[in-house]
């Protein structure tokens, strides 16, 4: 433990270096702007920032993206409370009590509770992240290829099962992404796979055009088809924040504890991100909270629970990302992409080979949460101003950032065509309700899954039962089966409940 604290202290020193601190500050500001700007989502913002990290060294790159991720979980809350516009799906539960409290004449109090909740959730999750990461990594170090394959499979399955959209569509999206990752020259046999004689395809399709195209251009096309129709700004828009007194917050300690637990747990399980955490925490408060009967009428518990949980999920997500190389959400998939672009593969070894980097990331989450709090308190007025920018203008610049960002990787116009293709694919996915996250994850982790599967087959002489006979791999396979069948079980139970309610 002492060793961890020593490393963490080193991490703080590392983050306070001018370049890293600058990356942290820029990440916090941009993350919050992205969460507030109309038509931009948190994942889209992180994707757009990715190309700017090419020229940076790895530490400021990851700090920049992580800071965006942290502050992005708070920015959308401001618009939910003041204008009834949730910046992200995770902010929807804030409409019920946050906006109600604001409409009842106390927006400053509502904003204060949200800020305090984000700060508390963030600091709790950062502490748990540091405490859990090393034990996780030690266990992961014992893994061989069958265990790695099982873990990647679990990541795939839980992202499909816990994500949005229908289960069938999510699987098709995942398989599509995995298939995209097979395009190009096979590394072992040197055989062309699905290249159709094209020199461009022989180099393979990178995950960057897939991510930038689908999340960036695809989302803009979806909004363009809707005529960039932003909801009208309602609410009186009084802008001030009143932080609750400690005594007031102490009365809600049960809510803070429950929501932090839900948030961290949802963060650790791949696929169950901030949105599920936020909704589940609100639901848990509705079942176990002292004032559950008043939930929805504008009480502090209804603001604290979803906000604590969504911010707490960030640290949870970082644990499997850093220790296993498994991203559990769109934003962490992009952060994994940044690691890979800099030639670093996250996993248990990273704690030995790049421990300074890992602890700098940990320290940046602590400092990022505090910075987010300061920014949320002092910079709320200019932040709100960007809400009035016309979405058509914002969207054009989003598209240009997507295109130039992709171009800057290889200075090659063929990458722009990839963006256009995957932008259209992203639009079609949205239109036909295929979730995008499984495709992106399949594209990034597809090669890891293929390599660990083939290595296992070669090492164990094509004996596929090895996945079920080695204890750790068998346990992870069992979790995979649970993740797969849970939505089916939940669906059956939900249909029965709805049928009963109708009858």
């Amino acid at each position: 433990m002492l060793e961890v604290l020593q490393h963490l202290a080193g991490g703080f020193v590392h983050v306070l270096a001018p370049v890293n601190f600058m990356a942290l500050a820029v990440g916090l500001i941009v993350g919050m702007l992205v969460a507030v700007l109309p038509g931009l989502t948190l994942v889209m913002g992180v994707v757009l920032a990715l190309p700017f990290t090419y020229g940076m060294s790895i530490t400021p790159s990851i700090i920049l993206l992580t800071a965006m991720y942290v502050s992005g979980t708070y920015g959308g809350a401001i618009t939910s409370i003041l204008f009834r516009i949730p910046g992200e799906p995770m902010d929807v539960p804030l409409l019920w009590d946050g906006f109600a409290m604001a409409r009842a004449g106390d927006p400053a109090q509502a904003l204060g509770w949200t800020l305090f909740a984000a700060l508390t959730g963030g600091l709790i999750t950062a502490t748990i992240m540091v405490a859990l990461a090393v034990p996780f990594a030690k266990v992961a170090l014992t893994f061989d290829s069958p265990e790695y394959f099982a873990v990647v499979l679990f990541g795939f399955t839980s992202v499909v099962a816990l994500g949005g959209g229908s289960l069938g569509n999510a699987f098709i999206s995942l398989f599509f992404g995995m298939l995209v990752s097979t395009v190009g020259v096979d590394e072992i046999y040197g055989v062309d796979r699905f290249t159709f004689g094209s020199e461009v395809l022989r180099d393979g399709i990178g995950y960057l055009p897939v991510m930038v195209g689908a999340y960036g251009l695809g989302e803009v096309l979806v909004r363009l088809e809707q005529g960039f129709a932003s909801p009208p700004l309602s609410g009186d828009g009084k802008i001030a924040t009143r932080i609750p007194r400690l005594a007031e917050a102490w009365k809600l300690r049960g809510t803070f504890a429950r929501a932090s637990f839900v948030g961290v747990l949802c963060g650790i399980v791949p696929g169950a991100g901030a949105t599920i955490a936020s909704f589940v925490a609100y639901g848990v408060e509705g079942q176990y909270g002292k004032r559950r009967a008043q939930l929805g009428s504008g009480i502090a518990e209804g603001i604290v629970a979803p906000q604590v949980a969504s911010t707490a999920s960030v640290g949870g997500h970082m644990v499997p990302l850093l220790t296993l190389g498994i991203p559990g959400s769109g934003a962490t998939a992009v952060i994994l992409g940044a690691f890979l672009l800099h030639g670093v593969q996250p996993g248990p070894q990273i704690f030995q080979t790049q421990s300074a980097l890992v602890y700098a990331i940990f320290a940046s989450v602590f400092l990022g949460v505090i910075g987010m709090g300061l920014l949320g308190y002092f910079a709320i007025r200019p932040l709100i101003k960007v809400l009035y920018l016309p979405e058509a203008i914002v969207s054009v610049f989003v598209v240009l950032f997507c295109l130039i960002g992709a171009y800057s990787e290889h200075n090659n116009i063929s990458d722009l065509w990839m963006i256009v293709v995957f932008g259209i694919v992203g639009y079609l996915f949205e239109r036909w309700r295929f979730p995008i996250a499984p495709m992106v994850l399949g594209c990034i982790l597809g090669p890891v899954a293929e390599t660990s599967f083939l290595t296992t087959m070669i090492s164990y002489r094509n004996d596929w039962t090895v996945f079920f006979t080695r204890p750790v791999s068998a346990a992870v396979m069992a979790l995979t089966a649970i993740a797969l069948f849970y939505p089916l079980f939940r669906g059956v139970r939900r249909r029965r409940r709805l049928a009963l309610a109708h009858s």
């Binding site: 569509n169 055989v191 809707q226 169950a272 016309p390 130039i404 116009i413 083939l454």
Partner: protein
């Protein structure tokens, strides 16, 4: 009369429309499976070949498509949701769950896609600055923003700002185009101090 019949046809086949994505994916997966069976390589002992992984993915994709097609044909669009949708569905109040359908403008979408394709296609010829000015102006107008002075100002200022940041600060070599557009790019580069 013909237009009326066409409109009726579109309304008659909502199930076929729902099946369309799966039929397309299924057809593509079948073609790619055939391609994967014909990867030319020399087997090395009992090692799995380069076709094993893609064929496994394609087989799973085909199974997923067939399941969706059968399920849609028999039960309609009701499918098991992922946990996220199910949790949100349970939590949302009825009024928010039954939100009004979104109004769509397909012509805007088609124009936006066409403009983006044209932008990429013309980038090498027009050069970054000229192409970007035209693209910004056209796409903002397509997005139903109507104040022309703002559009023109944003287009020129935006293209110049991108050029300055990416060429002068990030040292990215953006396309300068072919004559006569090349001369415009070079003049602006001199003006901005870009070498």
């Amino acid at each position: 009369m013909a237009a009326h019949a066409r409109k009726r046809d579109l309304h008659v086949n909502p199930r076929l429309r729902a099946l369309l994505p799966y039929l397309l994916v299924l057809a593509a997966a079948a073609v790619l499976s055939y391609k994967a069976m014909h990867f030319g390589y020399t087997p090395r002992g009992d090692r799995p070949g380069p076709d094993v992984w893609p064929r496994a993915i394609l087989a799973l994709m085909i199974v997923a498509c067939v399941v969706r097609i059968v399920s849609l044909s028999l039960k309609g669009p009701d499918d098991t949701d992922g946990v996220l949708d199910s949790v949100i569905g349970d939590a949302l109040p009825d009024a928010e769950r039954d939100a009004a359908p979104v109004k769509r403008f397909p012509l805007l979408l088609v124009t936006g896609v066409a403009l983006t394709i044209a932008y990429v296609a013309l980038l090498g010829t027009l050069g970054f600055f000229c192409d970007t000015v035209l693209y910004i102006a056209a796409l903002i107008r397509t997005g139903r923003y109507r104040r022309w002075p703002v559009i023109v100002a944003v287009a020129f200022a935006g293209a110049l700002a991108f050029m300055f940041v990416f060429m002068k600060v990030v040292y990215l070599s953006l396309p300068i185009g072919t004559p006569p557009f090349e001369a415009i790019s070079l003049a602006l580069m001199r003006l901005l101090g870009i070498r």
